[in-house]
Symmetry: C2
Subunit: 181 residues, 2 copies
Amino acid sequence: MSKKQLLLKAAEAKVRTGGYNNFSFRELADEIGIKSSSVHYHFPTKADLGAELARQYTDNFLTNLGAPEALIAEGKKPIEVYLQQFQCALTEDKKMCLCGLLGAETDALPEKVKAQTQRFFEQNINWLTQAYQQVDGISEQAANGQAIATLSLLEGAMLVSKAMNDTAIFATASAGLLIKR
Amino acid sequence: MSKKQLLLKAAEAKVRTGGYNNFSFRELADEIGIKSSSVHYHFPTKADLGAELARQYTDNFLTNLGAPEALIAEGKKPIEVYLQQFQCALTEDKKMCLCGLLGAETDALPEKVKAQTQRFFEQNINWLTQAYQQVDGISEQAANGQAIATLSLLEGAMLVSKAMNDTAIFATASAGLLIKR
DNA sequence: ACCTATGTATCTACTGATAGATAATGTGAA
DNA sequence: TTCACATTATCTATCAGTAGATACATAGGT
C-alpha cells in the first residue's frame, strides 16, 4: 500500500471519529513514519486531501454495493444489502459514516470537500431510487422519496448509535426498513 | 443578556456549523467584544463551555416542546409538534442540531461534553417513548423502538438536508412520520 | 539529467491556558 | 457615614504547543 493510500487511511479514521478538523498533517505523517512536509507532496493542501478522501470513500462505498439490478439478479434484496453496508461501517469500524460527518459540518468545509461530500449523497440517493423503483415497481418520484427517507434514517441511526454508544440502537432504528410492505 | 449567555450563543452558532473544533475562545471573545482571557473567567476550560452549551441546548429544547400529555390535552399531536421543532431548527437557523453534530463526533469530545450530549438523546428518546405510548396505546418497549426510529430519522433528515443544501429534503424524508397509522 | 519521494528548517498564525493588574461594585463593621 | 475588605468582571501580557504551508536540499531510481 502506497504512502499516499496510508495517509488517506489514517485520515479517514480521524475524520470519521471527529470531523474534518480532527486531523493534522503532522499527526498523519507521524502515524505512517514520514514528515509533515512530505504529506504536502502528495496533497498540496488539506482541502485536496479531504476532497480525495471523500471521493474515494464514495467510490468504494458504491463499488462494494454493486448495482441494484445485479443484486436482484443474484436473488438478493437491495435495501437489505444497503442496510448491511451501513451496519458494517458502524459495527466493524465503530465509526460514523465519513460523509455523514462531513455532511453535518458542510458549511465549515472547503469548497472542494463540500462538493465531494455532496456527491456521496447524490449517488446514494440515485442508487436507492433505482432500487426502490425496481423492487416496488413504483414511480421514480415515489422511489426518490423513499430513497431520501431511507438514507436519512440510516445516517441518523448511525449518529444516534454513536452518541448513545450503543450499536443495538442502529438495529432498532432500522428494523422498520426490512418489514416494510 | 449577560456576556456569559452571549458567549454561549456565539459558540452555539459555530458548533452547529462545524462541530466542537469549529470555535475558539478568541473568536467568541472578539465577537462579543471582550478578550479571550475573560472567557476563561466564565468557563475555566473549553470543555466546560461545551458541556454547558449542550446542557442548555437540551433543556431549552425540551422546555419548548412541553410534556407530551400537555400537548395532547391541548388537542395537539405530539409527534407533529416534535417534527416541527426539528424543522424550525433547520429552516430558521439554517443549521444542524447541536447535539446531532456533537453526537456524530462523540469519540473526539472531552468527557464532560460527551456526557451532556448523551443526555440530549436520552431525554429525547424518553419524550418520544411517552408520546408514542400515549398516542398509539402501545407497550413501552414498542414505543421505545418507535422513539429511536423517529429520532434517528429526524437527525438524519437534518444531516442530509445540510449536506445537500436543500431544506426540501427534510420535508420529504420526514413526510412518512405524519401519515403513519 | 530527470522524476519521485522524502527530509531539514523555518514561517506566520492561531490554540487553550495562566499570572497578575485593574476597576467597579457590593458589604459589613466602626 | 465612612473605611476596609471581598467579589465580579474585565484587562494586559505571555506561554508552550500546534496549525498549514513553503523554500530548498537530498537521495535513489530511470
